[in-house]
């Protein structure tokens, strides 16, 4: 054990010193994660600079803006951006700020517009970002205004299987490489067929550290037995220990997921099997045919879930995405999207949405118990106590196990969902980025 240091003051350290202190105390390879990283303001500030300003972050799904001129406004690392589909059909994203005096250009969540006009002085931009109109320009600027240099600030954008990612990093690792082997699993969740987002994402504020959400989805199937014990009591799942069976996978860059299997029932609309087979490899389809749930996190804060439960006596699955967006060390905005297989029957789509709202929306009977736990963990991690007393969390579960060699999919795979290997991998990449 590290000796207890009572004189640690992160707020008096330089960025480099904070990173060094993290290196000393965050030891995922030993299963040791200190509580202070869930509450400290300096860690939070460094995360913003080193992680959220550097990595790919989810902005939305292509089905949210299917037509030319469609746009959505979203936050990228806390800064408002406009994502728009230009007249040429391609997606672009811009900082939602007029380059003249900094006013927010667009205040709607979504819409369809070929151009955006600033409410302050009327500067007008095409949805491809160019400044095309300035009131009285010839007179008041003498025709000298260099409009070409005043385009909206561009956001680096890329997509994977309908997911739109953006980053403030102008020279990021290419998205496909960043996702790496995790694409194999993401394909099943969002690329098995054409998927569509139904309605707007739901947003709610939780007084919780954002990492608790990512961590919960990347490797914590263990909590299901207790936190979600009420679900088994209602008969929605067979028994409280149902969440143990299956596999846990992690790959480089901190991504990881849990695959609940086997499943005697096919969790998706059976009439779409030809489409699934067309879009997936035979190995991917085989895995998909056996899953009863898939829960995972794309580093840093995008989690996904495929959940197959019994509602009103009938089995149904729902597929959702969620972002854990940090607002403060002790506060996040949770944003959830419901996706459905576009060519499923109306009845299947209705029941799938119903099961999402009942289980994982803000009123969801799974969701609500999680947010209660997240809030209390966050409160306990705040302040100077965790750091001066050197309080650590135990992340050693499953360290005695060896990964399996013959799993059908890529990555480091354990034959049991109850292990914390995925979290150790998540924090190990987190630490790499904080030190970079």
């Amino acid at each position: 054990m590290i000796e207890t240091k009572t004189n640690v003051h992160l707020d008096e350290m330089s960025r480099e010193e904070v990173a060094n202190y993290l290196s000393e105390t965050v030891r995922p390879e030993d299963g040791v994660i200190p509580a202070y990283i869930m509450g400290d303001e300096n860690v939070n500030k460094l995360e913003h600079e080193k992680i959220f300003m550097k990595t790919w972050l989810l902005l939305g799904h292509e089905s949210e803006l299917p037509n030319k001129g469609d746009f959505i406004t979203r936050d990228l690392a806390g800064y408002s951006v406009i994502v728009s589909r230009g007249q040429d059909g391609s997606l672009r994203a811009f900082y939602n700020m007029c380059t003249h005096r900094g006013m927010k250009l667009c205040r709607a969540d979504k819409g369809n517009k070929g151009q955006f006009t600033c409410p302050y002085h009327g500067f007008t931009y095409k949805n491809s970002g160019e400044l095309i109109g300035v009131p009285l320009q010839k007179d008041i600027y003498g025709g000298q205004l260099d409009m070409e240099k005043m385009s909206l600030h561009n956001v680096t954008l890329d997509t994977y299987k309908g997911l739109i990612f953006g980053t403030w990093n102008e020279n990021p690792e290419p998205l496909l490489e960043f996702l790496g082997d995790f694409k194999w699993y993401l394909d099943i969740v969002v690329g098995r067929t054409e998927m569509e987002v139904i309605g707007p994402p739901q947003k709610f504020i939780v007084h919780s550290q954002w990492k608790i959400g990512s961590d919960n989805f990347v490797s914590d199937s263990y909590h299901t037995m207790v936190t979600h014990g009420s679900i088994a009591k209602l008969g929605m799942v067979p028994n409280a220990a149902y969440s143990k069976k299956g596999y846990q996978v992690h790959v480089k860059n901190g991504h990881g997921c849990n695959i609940g299997m086997p499943n005697p029932d096919f969790a998706f609309p059976e009439e779409l099997i030809p489409e699934y087979k067309e879009n997936l490899s035979s190995d991917q389809f085989e895995l998909m045919s056996n899953v009863k749930n898939m829960i995972g996190t794309v580093f840093p804060n995008l989690s996904f879930l495929v959940s197959h439960t019994k509602v009103k006596g009938k089995l149904i699955s729902n597929t959702t995405l969620r972002l854990w967006k940090p607002i403060a060390p002790d506060k996040m905005e949770v944003m959830t999207w419901f996706l459905v297989d576009k060519n499923a029957s109306e009845d299947w789509k209705y029941r799938s949405r119903e099961s999402y709202i009942l289980t994982f929306s803000p009123s969801g009977i799974f969701e609500q118990d999680d947010t209660e736990v997240f809030t209390d963990i966050t409160q306990a991690a705040a302040g100077t106590l965790p750091i001066v007393k050197n309080f650590n969390y135990n992340y050693t579960m499953g360290m005695h196990r060896e990964p399996v060699k013959d799993f059908i999919g890529p990555g480091v795979v354990y034959p049991d969902k109850f292990t914390e290997a995925g979290s150790r991998n998540f924090y190990s990449y987190w630490l790499d980025m904080m030190k970079a």
């Binding site: 205040r107 709607a108 969540d109 979504k110 819409g111 139904i198 309605g199 707007p200 739901q202 947003k203 709610f204 504020i205 939780v206 007084h207 919780s208 207790v226 936190t227 979600h228 014990g229 009420s230 679900i231 009591k233 209602l234 509602v311 009103k312 905005e333 419901f338 949405r353 119903e354 709202i357 009942l358 929306s361 803000p362 009123s363 969801g364 009977i365 969701e367 609500q368 118990d369 947010t371 209660e372 736990v373 809030t375």
Partner: protein, 169 residues
């Protein structure tokens, strides 16, 4: 206002006050008994639209979209030993006002709109949540009692400032 309308308004004000008391005092069975078997209980997601475009809520996505069966599941769940989100229960106070009776057919059906403000406080937390919105309710008269057959709750936030909706609106 005719005396019939005054009495109807009074009747539904009392109904809504009684309902508030039942859920604020955690009598979920008592509250559930006020529901009609054809219940449609919905809370759409509120959105920010361009200018004055209305309605400014989604017709496709909901925070609640329950019928009597799923509502029964929610109530039953709250009675298990594992419903952590509300264990111990939030202290809530539902303030109902601006009650307007839009349609009234004696001993048959009624459409009643009202404003709702929920104060929510949990555990030792010094923060409180406020949830504000409009209820658009429909009632059906069954065996001498008004039952809630439809509730459409239009919440006044596009990002909900409460940790979950483990409480009813």
């Amino acid at each position: 206002m005719s005396i019939e309308k005054v009495l109807a308004k009074h009747e539904f004000e009392q109904w809504l006050y009684d309902e508030a008391k039942l859920i604020d005092e955690i009598d979920f069975d008592g509250w559930f008994n006020l529901m009609h078997t054809d219940l449609k209980y919905e809370m759409p997601v509120r959105v920010n639209k361009e200018g004055m475009e209305r309605p400014d809520y989604s017709k496709e996505m909901f925070a609640f979209q329950d019928d009597i069966e799923t509502m029964k599941m929610r109530v039953d769940r709250l009675k298990t030993d594992y419903a952590w989100a509300e264990m111990p229960p939030s202290r809530t106070r539902r303030f109902v006002s601006n009650v307007r009776v839009l349609e009234y057919v004696e001993n048959e059906k009624a459409v009643v709109h009202s404003y709702l403000l929920i104060y929510r406080s949990r555990s030792t937390d010094i923060h409180h949540d406020l949830i504000s919105g409009e209820r658009q309710d429909e009632f059906t008269y069954v065996e001498g009692e008004w039952k809630l057959s439809k509730r459409f709750f239009i919440v006044d936030q596009t990002t909900l400032n409460t940790r979950n909706l483990a409480i009813f609106v």
